[in-house]
Amino acid sequence: MFKYQILIPSSILILWLILAILGPWFPLEPNHIILPNILQPPSLSEWLGYDDLGRPVLDRLMMGARTSFFVAFGVITVSLTVGTLIGTISGWFGGYIDLIIVRIMDVFLAFPGILLAIALSGILGPGIENVVFALSVVGWVGFARITRAQTLSLKHREHVLAARALGASIPRILRYHIIPLLMAPLLIEATFGIAGIVIAEAGLSFLGLGVQPPAASWGSMIRDGTGYMLVAPHIVLAPGLTLLLVVLSVNMLGDKLRDKLDVKSQ
């Protein structure tokens, strides 16, 4: 039971990774329009059928995997770096720096996350770089907030006081006594963050604010399919199920990770 809860989601995520990285080397034809095949249901020759323009759904799905993967990891990298840096500075140095940073974080937190991303990508225009930028602007605050709170509580712990008593310099204290202890909560936040970003990217694309056509995203595939739901439900079901499976897998692994790391920290 326990094994499958890790094995199955891990396999799904590894598949996602392979598709994203090796996608260009597969013989895919995501933009090849075959007019007679418009809205054709899944068959033995084309497993997931064709969409409203007669393009193969499976090929587009695999291209969509690449989009969501690169957006997710781009955003996580940027927001983790920026957030951790700002959070550590704010928490360790305190004083006016902290006061200003906290106010700025409050302002960013005052926006419902997806709304700020919608506004940003709406104003910047569609495109994958703008999606990454918009979602990073939203994403860094979460990491900064956790890092700051953790740093604040850690800096008064006795092991840090002991390090100060040993005469350790600030970089040394941060490197050996604070940052190693931030890893577990940041890893957990990053995992759940990936799930959120995958949904957000698809959501922006669903609203037409994400990647540009003809590039594929699971979100834009769902949007394109909603008009044909009665006649060709597979166009909506396939990308939606894929999206659900990936997000579910990330969340399941996140839960397991949290259980494991929490036990150790006690």
Partner: protein
């Protein structure tokens, strides 16, 4: 308590000021010439200059900001570039629909989460608990822009129980509310479960047991009352997710609220209207959070009776 409320209100004000400033700066992010972007390629130089004048875009940034603020304070949000109507009127027309949807979604979330989370906590590690947590995992993982179409496919197109879209009567509210409330209900159910489990481990619960109280009295009287405090805070914070989700839900169901208006305005490059929509939703969110903080303080005697 009064000093708590006042200091909380002051910090709310500074946050709102920051929010307004950030939204004001958004329009300056438009790549290239914003006026050109708004009017499109066919605009004549005189049209461009006129709009630039109207929006005050050729003045220094700080002057523009100051004008924006003073106009806001007078309730003047500007005029829509598309319909030429005062934005404030459009807001007043559209806001009730979004409010209705948000409240309905919140109700759905609470009605699902409260029984689910409590049963999961009280029957920990049983089949009830496990099923509730599976539901919760599914709930947070399912995107609302997929759940919405699925509900339409099943309940509107196939069974014909509810209308596909629009805002006609009570029936047309059901599917949007379900779409919007599911994710929140999942998050909330988890929160209620973990908070309740934590509270049930507290020393005062053991004291209550040692007095000989019934389990039901312990849960209702001693546990839920204490658990409600953190839950209220989480609920306030999660209303952001709800308001953000409302934008997408309104698009799916053609619900004539602020969310739909936001996307329409983005497509029409009606930036003043986009600004106003974002502002309205964010400020509502900030105010809701202030309200939950005050509510929390009022419910918690440790804060209520502090000097």
């Amino acid at each position: 308590m009064p000093s708590f409320i006042i200091s909380r209100l002051l910090s709310t004000l500074t946050v709102i000021l920051g929010v307004i400033t950030l939204i004001f700066l958004l329009i300056h992010l438009v790549p290239g010439d914003p006026v050109q972007a708004m009017l499109g390629e066919t605009a004549t130089p005189t049209d461009l200059e006129a709009l630039r004048q109207a929006l005050g875009l050729n003045q220094p940034l700080f002057t523009q900001w100051w004008q924006y603020m003073t106009h806001l304070l007078q309730g003047d949000l500007g005029t829509s570039l598309y319909s030429q109507e005062p934005i404030i009127d459009i807001m007043i027309e559209r806001f009730p629909a979004t409010l209705e949807l948000a409240i309905a979604g919140l109700l759905v979330a609470i009605l699902i989460a409260l029984p689910l989370g409590s049963i999961a906590a009280l029957r920990k590690d049983t089949i009830y608990d496990n099923s509730a947590m599976v539901f919760s995992l599914l709930g947070v993982s399912i995107p609302n822009f997929w759940l919405g179409p699925l509900l339409i496919l099943l309940f509107s197109l196939t069974l014909g129980w509810f209308p596909v879209s629009g805002r006609e009567n009570f029936l047309s509210l059901i599917l949007p509310a379900l779409t919007l409330g599911t994710a929140l209900s999942a998050i909330l159910a988890r929160m209620i479960r973990s908070t309740l489990l934590e509270v049930l481990n507290e020393d005062y619960i053991r004291t209550a047991r040692a007095k000989g109280l019934r389990e039901s009295a312990i849960v209702i009287h001693h546990a839920l009352r204490n658990a409600s405090l953190p839950i209220i805070t989480i609920l306030g914070l999660q209303l952001g997710t709800l308001l953000g989700g409302a934008v997408i839900t309104e698009i799916i169901f053609a619900w004539p609220g602020i969310g739909q208006l936001t996307i329409e305005s983005i497509q029409r490059r009606d930036y003043p209207l986009v600004q106003a929509c974002i502002l309205l939703i964010s400020v509502s969110y900030v105010l809701i959070n202030t309200l939950t903080d005050v509510l929390y303080a009022w419910l918690d005697p440790r804060v209520r009776y502090s000097v």
